[in-house]
Symmetry: D2
Subunit: 314 residues, 4 copies
């Protein structure tokens, strides 16, 4: 089977894959550090695929809503790249992978001249929002929110208020990251307002199809496969996908490159998006997570898909 | 121009690229921590390309010999993968990228249960040699040396004795890494003998063509494009390329993914190899290094090539 | 001359010592990270000594007011010890010296089960305030403020509003520390309110005599040498002095033990207090600091005094 | 009871204290990382006291031989201070306490310009031996060995060959530390020869009386209370005791200052020495260790003694 070949019985295949992998959901656990997330159903498993021509496939619990969480970082980073000179940007946020966890603060003190190592971990994402164009933080929020809607081809996306409030109440580690960066001059805006935007962006409710279409927009080098709108240029798309590959699954990025071999981004809401450049985007969801905060069932599903359809880019 | 398209005037283009990028060699510096390496000519810049059908192109100082250094880690890792069950292997060496330097010892003490983070940094490479099949360390050395010759399609490769002795004399940081791992049980063989193999493998003399053919063998999923010999399977090739992408340029791996966008591996002798999967391999050399130990001219040359010929895999 | 012997010409000696050491003030620099502190006069140098029988000696700029800053931590820690069972307390704050700076956040993430290493660095002091008896944070503040007044035998102490506001405006590193500890459960009260108390306690204006009498109260095992009031018990005094000895000068504590050899505590306002157990307390001030944030002139003055009067406790 | 007062029934008191504290030996465990040490009897508990006038007291298993281990570091450091200018010395080894364990390598990479933080942890001790006067390492060894014999007032001290060989065979972590420092230029001599001296010095067999007399020599400011020989000057003695206080019990130094309040030094052979300046020296032994490598029974015994006889220096 050659790369990217799509079987005639694709729907059956997807249905079958979901069933084969559903047992993995029993081996993970939903996130509990954000209380509202602990209410998620751990048994869910869904998938959606969007080809660059707009063809779509879905299976399992693909319609189940979940919060986008860190997958939104892909959209911040896209906006950050569009709104800043790359050389200037790297004086504030690097593009360096790290073996530390997504909310680690150690590196801000000890490495890299106090800069966040990359935009896919919390510190870099929070700093990133402040670098997006906009007179006010609300403007910056709107710009990113709009990018997410545009990439998902879905004007109806909304913030899940319960999750947002839960994150805001318990987001002290993120406050620590933000105030540290305020102290070192990486962040110059009001921290609470910035975090409010961050928590809202993390709490946007999506389903598998939304993130599959976002991924397909990256696969299609910035042109939405569903609306045809050009959202960003191919070079920006490539940088985003390069950073997703090296940093997108946090300290699990290396294993994901081996197991799945596609640019990806996960969120603690249970979603993972992956991009097959120039071919298709995939969105999976499964709220039961592994120890590093990545959807366990989603990961295994992507691994099987990558092998069967030869989607590994390496 | 579509991906991988090869221009008719390829030779002229390569000659021109070498001339355009030669000025970068003035901005770097040859490695000095291994005394023998400090004798290299900093002005050299060369390139060699090998397509998966065996077609080759060369320009600049492609014939200038240099020591393979860390590029040999690609061959150890290939052998390690062939000779070990992957699950078992990851109990000894992870596949996790890191923001620390190539000879960092910190992570062995503080992270990842004392395991080397990946096989592309010194600690992981040294541990890796000991995991290759072979009754004695000499057998292990021979197995890896043979793999390098086979991947390069060059039976005439030899260890540069002056560099080898220089590394052996001054390799105290590597001794520290090895003894630390001996202390934690990752290494169970004799350390000095193991390091002797490591220093010899780092000191193998190659030129741009050798490493381009090695890269082309990876591009061709384990089958040498010059000898036709099958050296390893496609799955092993993909794992190697995945780990090269996330870890191959040390703490510069993230920037390389952005700038060049190909699986790569650098060495402090001035070489960098990159792989364009299923298409071609590239070897560049330029002994003047940047601050992270990567060939400065080589990096810039690859960046231009990647853009012009659309070789970025993302 | 035997230990603690007080010369007849003590006043002359002190005047002379001030003159001999004033040149050191030229080699340091006033703190600038709190903008208001940067307005201090770097040339000041003063000393005050209070014996356990209440006899006092003063020289130089001993009347110049300065903010107490971290010297107030001695009082928090005293209150924390009085108000908590020691075993229970060590589950929240350790008594371990550290080679990291006074505002380091690294250890909160990587060591000691996320507990502050000791109560003399910022993280431990902030956590400490929350452990002092008091229904509200204002009550806790008042308890500590009262302890400082009582230890100094000075009812007229006041917060310097300009410094307090300056600290509050720029205290983002302290906010990072506090929110990190909120996130890990070490702090359970409102962070901004807690920091407000911390910034006010740091901004209490004192002079050399005030801190000398505080030190003399510790020397006298909890009984004020000027008011005769018993403020705490000998065992508490010994714990405070033990922790001052190992942790009181931040990452300069080891050098201070060698150079001066007395339990001490410094503040970035330029003050240092030292205790000669059962004998006397010393307060020096000199706003020009060394690289670790300790008064340079003050340190050198104490070193000479310790040698001449054999005050080294070792 | 006032400080240092010696009871008439001292012998009875000591016998009673041993019996009261013997149960603590059941709560610790003998060191196992040096195989030969694991053969020690965990139930032993002994004490010896030597006053500065030479009066001695003993109780429990004070005659049981044990290896001196890290307590020998006190003697290296004394020699290092005698043989080097202090300013020059601090360019190679600092006097800074640390929250990291005795064999930590992290700080050599990340802090303090790659210098060992202090001479009481393994890295600083190994580097220290190389800084002692002597044309050869054997000369350096002999100088330190002689200092230990002189401080102990015991010409019959010998290396325990079985322990020495066991340490040599398994001392890979120490090799890592030493080669790291060779790599950074702190150590310039042959590493294996230097470690051989280190392992022999750690393996000197002593009993409680030997280390009590060593401690009493420090208490007596360099003059042996048993031979009357002047071994070093009071200033050197004070520096040694200052560094023992801040660094002598490794990362347990802060707790020891609180619990016991005397300059001390422990070894994984089960010994602890403490100094009551100008008064007496104490040697305890109890091979069952706590988690940080300090004798558990010995620590508790010293804590009781310190309280009952008011030996806390703070």
């Amino acid at each position: 089977m050659k790369r990217g070949h799509v079987e005639t019985s694709m729907q059956e295949k997807l249905d079958q894959l979901i069933e084969e992998h559903r047992h993995w959901t029993k081996k993970g656990a939903v996130a509990t550090y954000i209380p509202e997330l602990s209410k998620q159903d751990p048994d869910l498993l869904g998938i959606s695929i969007c080809e660059v021509d707009g063809t779509q496939w879905q299976a399992g619990d693909w319609q189940a809503p979940f919060t986008i969480q860190s997958i939104s970082k892909v959209a911040y980073f896209t906006c950050v790249l569009l709104d800043n000179d790359f050389e200037e940007l790297t004086k504030k946020i690097s593009v360096s992978p790290t073996a530390d966890g997504f909310n680690s603060i150690v590196n801000l003190e000890t490495k890299n001249e106090h800069k966040p190592l990359n935009a896919m971990i919390n510190s870099g994402a929070i700093a990133g929002i402040s670098l997006v164009k906009g007179a006010t933080i609300e403007d910056k929020f709107q710009r990113i929110f709009r990018m997410i809607c545009d990439m998902a081809g879905n004007e109806a996306l909304k913030v899940n208020e319960a999750v947002y409030l839960s994150e805001k109440r318990t987001g002290d580690r993120n406050r620590a990251l933000a105030y540290f960066m305020k102290g070192t001059g990486i962040i110059t805006v009001d921290v609470e307002e910035l975090l409010d935007a961050y928590f809202r962006l993390c709490s946007i409710e999506v389903n598998c199809r939304d993130i599959a279409i976002m991924a397909a927009t990256l696969a299609n080098e910035g042109v939405s496969p569903v609306t045809g709108k050009t959202l960003f240029d191919p070079k920006t798309a490539r940088i985003v996908k390069g950073v997703m590959t090296t940093c997108g699954l946090y300290d699990g990025s290396g294993e994901f490159a081996v197991d799945v071999g596609m640019p990806g981004k996960s969120g603690v809401g249970g979603g993972i998006m992956t991009v097959s450049p120039r071919l298709l985007g995939i969105g999976v969801m499964g709220p039961a997570l592994d120890a590093k905060g990545n959807s366990l069932g989603g990961w295994k599903l992507l691994q099987s898909l990558s092998e069967e359809w030869d989607l590994n880019i390496f």
